[in-house]
Symmetry: C2
Subunit: 351 residues, 2 copies
């Protein structure tokens, strides 16, 4: 048997949270790139823009005026993908033409009154206010809706159309595909192996220290063994926590601190405000609050699009869309990269 | 019960080929867009570029010289994601750290000696040569490999790094995720409903004529009822055909003609050379050639990234990555849009 060199030989890795495989072809980083180059960072954003509907005191599309808020501010999305009162389509129920009612609400949550900050540039007390507001929204919307998706699209490259620091919260009367899949995988893992999947995974990664990016007493951020995006990370509590709402005050402090460190590392990697989509997954809510959800472990996924530099992204296209996701460097190489770069972009902010 | 207005009320639709749902929120098209705007079309591409490794007579990265080819030309990818001799990783087989050997080959196939043409601008006899070469590669590579993925990334927006008209063919010793999923869905549909899924679907769409973009005696191109990308289409033979290799000479002619018409419509939609990723799915090969694959129906998926214009794309980010795919207009609206636009960009080429 020939020895494997994971940095030069392709192989498959299994994603136990999605029951899929990723093709890892590390040697692909050697190929020259003459494709699309992304625009470099936007011009400096002003602290307050009188025309930005997300800033304090400004008027939004529907005529409402934002209050002079001091930390977070939540309002209903003016162009929601989910509305509470959509009727049941019920028009065509042939197995090939199935539709279902979709009801819900979409909220926007500003992180801070200033447009020129991002989470890694905010103070720990201000980040804790964001976490507390997330938990509050989970309680409110989760009291009736089975799934409440908190997510942040950061950077124009990730479809974000407003530079003001904010996230979105979409609550729905259905379990979305990714939630259904993750629920099934975690449920089956517990049944077969007797321990919640991500609780066991966090313990093993903490022991191995091969893919850990940042860690503290209560949290761990790793490049998962099965990462598909080049710099993808998974943020995990060490304790068994099913939902954001179950975090203790100490765990919220620890979360603020590890988020700040993780996101500062991201910014430092290519010396830019690092683009990504991120979101929280926890046990479903609404009617599921009454059911046993022991198999669930709270976690956040970070999916950043960049590959080689601030302007060369990974395209998940052709083979990835039609066949299977493919990555051009191993998760272990990423860690090495992350540690070797000089942290200057946001150094002063590292706590 | 309130009447549903599919163009203003969101609802879910079921994708029977992937066993997932898509959120259709047609009213979202009304929201203003102030996010990223894509670069307009590249400069005119020269017919022959002495520095392009895909042109006839030029030297590639590995020192090989391309022949003076007249129609298609196939060579091994100089930076393959799959190589035939990768060893078995076998290093770590804990259920959370599973890896597997991945072996295969990656080929590049030029469609035409000229860099300044695309499939819709090529003549029918030249498109037939492309189809014949696809079938030939399926025979060759499919004799041993279980999955041969033919795919085309068109346009810089879809990660294509070379403007010369070409596709790629990646053959693997494993069934990729999308193939496994599609195989399972088609197999179960046949078992439950007694007819191959896509054969029944093509018949029903041909009868309804609500989502058909182009059609001829042997083929049908529809915006599937469950489309996720705004202008996604599905290309289907009318006869039960399991693999590209089983197409008759007449069906290949019909395919060339419908591809030319479909892609011309795409180009005309926003008056540009329309970007997309496309690929063929058919019954698996290699060891599966000996097994019953009656549930399979050959088809091609077209996934174009644009949403509102030549420069505003649909971002599949945040909610889509973390929860579920969401579209901003109904498949039926797309058809209407497609028919109402004036066909000028490539009119002269419509056969
Ligand atoms: O092989 P290419 O054209 O250089 O690369 C392109 O297609 C590949 C297969 O879909 C992707 O993995 C790459 O991210 C993309 O840039
Ligand atoms: O709601 P936004 O920020 O305007 O829009 C962005 O995020 C949404 C949710 O992920 C996506 O559906 C849109 O394609 C994207 O542009």
């Amino acid at each position: 048997r020939v020895d494997i060199h994971p940095h030069s030989h392709q192989h498959l890795r299994y994603n136990p949270l999605r029951d899929t495989w990723v093709l890892v072809s590390a040697h692909r980083m050697k190929r020259p790139w003459s494709g699309q180059v992304e625009k470099e960072e936007e011009d400096r954003v002003p602290q307050h823009d009188p025309n930005n509907p997300l800033c304090p005191g400004n008027t939004r599309a529907n005529g409402e005026v934002n209050p002079d808020y001091n930390n977070t501010y939540v309002f209903e999305n003016d162009f929601p993908a989910l509305q509470p009162d959509a009727p049941d389509p019920g028009f065509n129920q042939h197995p090939l033409f199935q539709s279902k009612a979709a009801r819900g609400v979409c909220k926007v949550m500003c992180f801070h009154p200033w447009s020129d900050v991002t989470l890694p540039l905010m103070t720990l007390p201000d980040i804790i206010k964001v976490i507390d507001k997330w938990a509050e929204l989970m309680v409110d919307l989760g009291s009736t809706y089975p799934w409440v998706q908190i997510f942040e699209n950061k950077g124009a490259m990730m479809g974000c159309s407003n530079p003001h620091p904010h996230c979105q919260v979409w609550a729905s009367n259905f379990l979305p595909n990714e939630a259904t899949l993750s629920d099934r995988c975690q449920r089956e893992y517990l049944k077969t192996h007797g321990e919640p999947l991500l609780l066991q995974y966090a313990k093993m990664e903490a022991e191995r220290q091969e893919r850990v990016v940042v860690q503290n007493a209560d949290w761990l951020a790793v490049v998962p063994y099965w990462a598909t995006w080049p710099f993808q990370t998974l943020l995990l509590p060490r304790r068994h926590v099913q939902r954001l709402t179950n975090l203790t005050a100490q765990e919220r402090e620890g979360l603020a601190s590890i988020m700040k460190r993780l996101l500062t590392k991201y910014d430092n990697l290519f010396q830019i405000s690092f683009p990504y989509s991120m979101g929280w997954h926890g046990a479903p809510t609404g009617p599921y609050l009454k059911e046993d959800q022991f198999h669930w472990q709270l976690h956040a996924h970070y999916y950043p699009p960049l590959l080689r530099s601030a302007s060369v992204r990974k395209f998940m296209v052709g083979y990835e869309m039609l066949a299977q996701e493919q990555r051009d460097l191993t998760p272990e190489q990423v860690i090495h990269l992350g540690n070797s770069i000089t942290a200057t972009y946001a150094t002063v902010y590292i706590s």
